[in-house]
Symmetry: C2
Amino acid sequence: MNINNLFFHINYCNMRQADEPWKYKAKLTRTLDHHELLLATGGKGSVVIANRRYNAQAGDIFYIPEHTMQSIESDFNDPLYFISVHFCYANVFFSDNNWSVKSEARELPLSSIKKVENIYQINHLFWRLVSGWYAKLPGYEFSSKALLQQLIFELYTNEKVENRNYSVELKIESVIKYMHENIDKKLTLSQLADMVNLSPTYLSRAFKERTGYSIIYFFNKLKIDKSKELIIDGDRKIKEVAKELGFGDEFYFSRLFKKIEGVSPLDFYSNNVHEF
Amino acid sequence: MNINNLFFHINYCNMRQADEPWKYKAKLTRTLDHHELLLATGGKGSVVIANRRYNAQAGDIFYIPEHTMQSIESDFNDPLYFISVHFCYANVFFSDNNWSVKSEARELPLSSIKKVENIYQINHLFWRLVSGWYAKLPGYEFSSKALLQQLIFELYTNEKVENRNYSVELKIESVIKYMHENIDKKLTLSQLADMVNLSPTYLSRAFKERTGYSIIYFFNKLKIDKSKELIIDGDRKIKEVAKELGFGDEFYFSRLFKKIEGVSPLDFYSNNVHEF
């Protein structure tokens, strides 16, 4: 799932505090039509997600996708309390100066439980999000949304660092760095794989997994991003830009640009820039 | 303009550094079909936005709306350098479980120039955004977007603090706080105006300006937000919730809920919750 074009809508936030246990049922089993992130803040209990039971301790973050059976069970004498955010999302696309939106059925790539007791930053983001939502000061919807996105990004990044092969992460970063330094060249998958001592197949799969893009598409995207800057701010001709980015052929460059951006580079220029 | 539902698309970022002045024209006059935020980082020059000339100094942030004549002029001996982000946005709506998107022609409510030399946080956000965009490490599009939203929010908030009557800001915050504490009551505009020693007309206008909502709509929205939490997580009956939030009449509550959320509270419940 590519999370880059997601637009988030916050349904509401929840803050179950220690001082009002009588307000809540000890056990609530159901599915919801929206997603939920929940940070346990104290007390005792457990969270069941899709038939798997997790003990909940202060500092645990649970991700419960939509349409997933969930049960929050609280200890009678020491009730569980938590903060949570209920949200949904859709994919928004911008291509050829047109916007479109499509609902997104897939789950976020997050694990069901994450222990973040020691990760001050993630806890802090979660608190800022929920308390900002509650305080409802001017601009709270906009800032809550930015905080939710950041929270999801941090959880996502943190997961990758925890669960995966750290040396592969570093190798992918060095591949990207190498692409930057050789943006005017042609690079092949096997060349890049050799450089970091991985098999082309392995590098290819790992790269796609981490970035959401195939390695060659990513390198082309990098060139196209750079070309936008050169075309608009460098005020350079398409032909020059194509050459500068290592395309032998200006027409191939134009086709690629159109494939990635939805418009040709010439139209991109004339849509965006009106000189005087 | 209500900025709450904006979805941002980053066209590209730009980083004009001191070591490559020959790359750029000394003067570039044009209009663009997207918005631009620019942070001057050094050198000398000026930025002309819609026929008004501003001297550019390190730490100045310029907002150049789309379709606006702009000219960036650089000193020959001490060229201006800067970082910038080019972006566009649309309004995304979620109502009655349906998504829709509509392009947004209005400008962001930001001033053309803002001096932020001493505001470390805003500068830092801008740098994180642009350098993250350039490094293109996994997830950069998602995180750049979250950072852009935060940057815009900070600029927006900062502007309000700077340009406006600080005591009015505080009064609006205390009105919101009072609403929270009296969420189970009926409140009138004149009652709230009395409380903060403002005329109803003045409070009404100022409130709308800061929050994007009329004062009564905002109070209703506050109640509806709370009701969503009570309906879903408190597992309470619609009738009870209406009473708890100070609606004499459950049907009035339902109509209001539908007006704000696009669905009735009963449908909201059954759309969202499937109990077992």
